[in-house]
Symmetry: C2
Subunit: 329 residues, 2 copies
DNA sequence: CCCTGCTCATGAAACGTTTCATGAACTCTG
DNA sequence: CAGAGTTCATGAAACGTTTCATGAGCAGGG
């Protein structure tokens, strides 16, 4: 069966090279070692085909070079993008990723933190859906898009600014009556600022606006009901919509089309996230693009920072608008 | 700083409970232990807030309960789906996932195997793009969609059957002149059987067909050239297309629309994979759906199997057709 | 009552690293 | 040339588990 049972160890290398165990360790870790000793050790490593064993190091140092990422899933393209870039960023720094899918289940989030503790990960990056989550104080903890307290760094896009941009764009397109729709109203989270920014810009721009914020568990049909309520004489009384996410924007566009309305002719629709078809194609809908790569970078440097407490408790990264949508005809 | 330095260990628990170290271990691992001892140990664990430490166990047993997944990225929705289901499947069995993104880079694949070795993962599941990859013989190794040799289990969808279904569907739709387009011709991989199945069914059904198999690195423009060559008198001389992947199908549909053709009125298009918009919406294109969940399950049970050599060297799982596409209008 | 066999807790060794105190071999300074 | 300082290899201890040989305690059979 698999695993060669008597894989050579540092002790074997030391014996082969005729040096002390500690010397081998220092060669491997690139520390100060005399030229001749280094050569002897390296040759011995070659001869024996020695393979470094991280388990030993983890036990001794209590550091695993692993960071846990807690996230609902990898199916939503925004999450998939986050996972991708965080992994790349970790890899750059020689860290591994321990991936935990919560499927939006709050109990699982708690269980995962426990599991992470037992696996001695060196830190946690979490995109959580439990506003009452108990943040561990024994492991460096960084959140994405969720502000818990000043002692827990939160990395987010500039949601407020994004909301403003959305309103400005709708105004540019000539919209006069707009609405903001989203789920997740129960969370005191950063994304809820999308609404705030949107509203503030609508006021400044003199746009008439409405806001529909549903609970997380609200059925999608409630959005359709909202649309129906705004149909008068076969016409939609709204000419611009800003949705909390691209996924919602996509669904709304489908609904509008089923109802016989054309996007963007009858009504402009803007989403949030910056999802692209297959990653490298055009944007799925017109959208406020999140700087996923920068977010990933910020999360990783924050969680790996030696002095977590010196990290700002809220880091906002700039967003931008991009037009998209499947080409009509 | 983070980590509480003197976290209690099994030895502390043993002392607190007044029992031997080994007894604590057996309680924790659910082995035969007297009732009274078990109770004492459990109470001590509670009192001390003891946390199990996996590093110690990994060192001692040389098993980490971790499986590495080597895959190009998580941005392509098909890969994202695989990652998701494999993770879920591993979690069921109390295993963790070590995720390695190759970005289609062959050297990275090799480097990852080395890294996995050092991290002592218990096995590897790989979707590789290097047909010359050296498969390690010291770690259980299972591939997705790539057949290497009889001693390396390969899990795949029934690509041949899928190709047949595609041809049958096109025939049902009334197509007479069809084509199969794909990249990746250089790999002697399972997906290339999509062509074989398609061709065999075309022959049986009396469809006239063409095949365009491009190298991996071929620019997308070559597909557009192919389409252009088949325009005669402003009409497309093909009425059905089968694409190697949904991504390609999606791109082709965009191209066709730009060229002024309607899908499916002018030409039927079928992809392969079963990608859905945001995971739970309708299929992006009409497609042959891969049983991702079953593939994940098969990969995990294979790689965790105690007797890898008894696993069939090729496992094919059934596919099915699903119609999709963004609703026209 | 002795012996055998069983159940089950004990204590110690082992896994492969890192790290630290020790000291050998030099070099420099006055 | 003696003493102080520097560089660098050594040997051993420690990290937190699992596992194994040992033996204590007890029940049953003759």
């Amino acid at each position: 069966m698999a695993k060669a049972k008597n894989a050579p160890t540092m002790a074997d290398v030391a014996r082969e090279a005729g040096v002390a165990l500690g010397t081998v360790s220092r060669v491997i870790n690139g520390q100060q070692v005399g030229e001749e000793f280094r050569r002897k050790v390296e040759e011995a490593i070659q001869r024996l085909g020695y393979q470094y064993n991280n388990s030993g190091r983890a036990l001794r140092t209590d550091r695993t070079n692993t960071i846990a990422l807690i996230i609902p899933n990898t199916i939503n393209p925004y999450f998939a993008l986050l996972v991708h870039h965080i992994n790349i960023e970790l890899e750059k720094r020689n860290y591994r990723m321990l991936l935990c899918f919560t499927k939006y289940d709050r109990d699982r989030e708690t269980e995962f933190i426990q599991m992470v503790r037992q696996n001695r990960a060196d830190g946690i990056i979490a995109l959580t859906y439990n506003p009452n989550l108990t943040i561990p104080d024994d492991i460096p903890f960084v959140t994405i898009d969720r502000f818990f307290s000043v002692s827990v760094p939160c990395i987010a896009a500039d949601n407020f600014g994004g909301g403003r941009i959305a309103a400005q764009k709708l105004a540019e397109f000539g919209c006069r009556k707009v609405a903001f729709l989203r789920t997740g109203s129960s969370l005191t989270n950063e994304p809820s600022k999308r609404k705030d920014g949107f509203v503030s810009a609508c006021v400044e721009l003199g746009l008439s606006f409405e806001v529909l914020a549903l609970e997380d568990e609200a059925p999608y049909s409630q959005f359709e009901d909202f649309l129906q309520e705004h149909v008068v004489d076969g016409k939609l009384s709204l000419d611009g919509l800003f949705l909390g996410t691209d996924m919602l924007a996509w669904q709304i566009i489908q609904s509008l089309q089923r109802m016989g309305f054309c996007v963007p002719e009858d009504v402009q629709v803007i989403g949030f996230d910056g999802i692209r078809m297959f990653g490298n194609q055009s944007y799925v809908v017109s959208t406020i693009v999140q700087p996923v790569q920068d977010i990933a970078e910020a999360c990783v440097s924050a969680v790996l920072s030696r002095h977590l407490s010196t990290i700002p408790s809220l880091i906002c990264l700039p967003v931008h608008y991009a037009s998209g949508g499947t080409t009509k005809e």
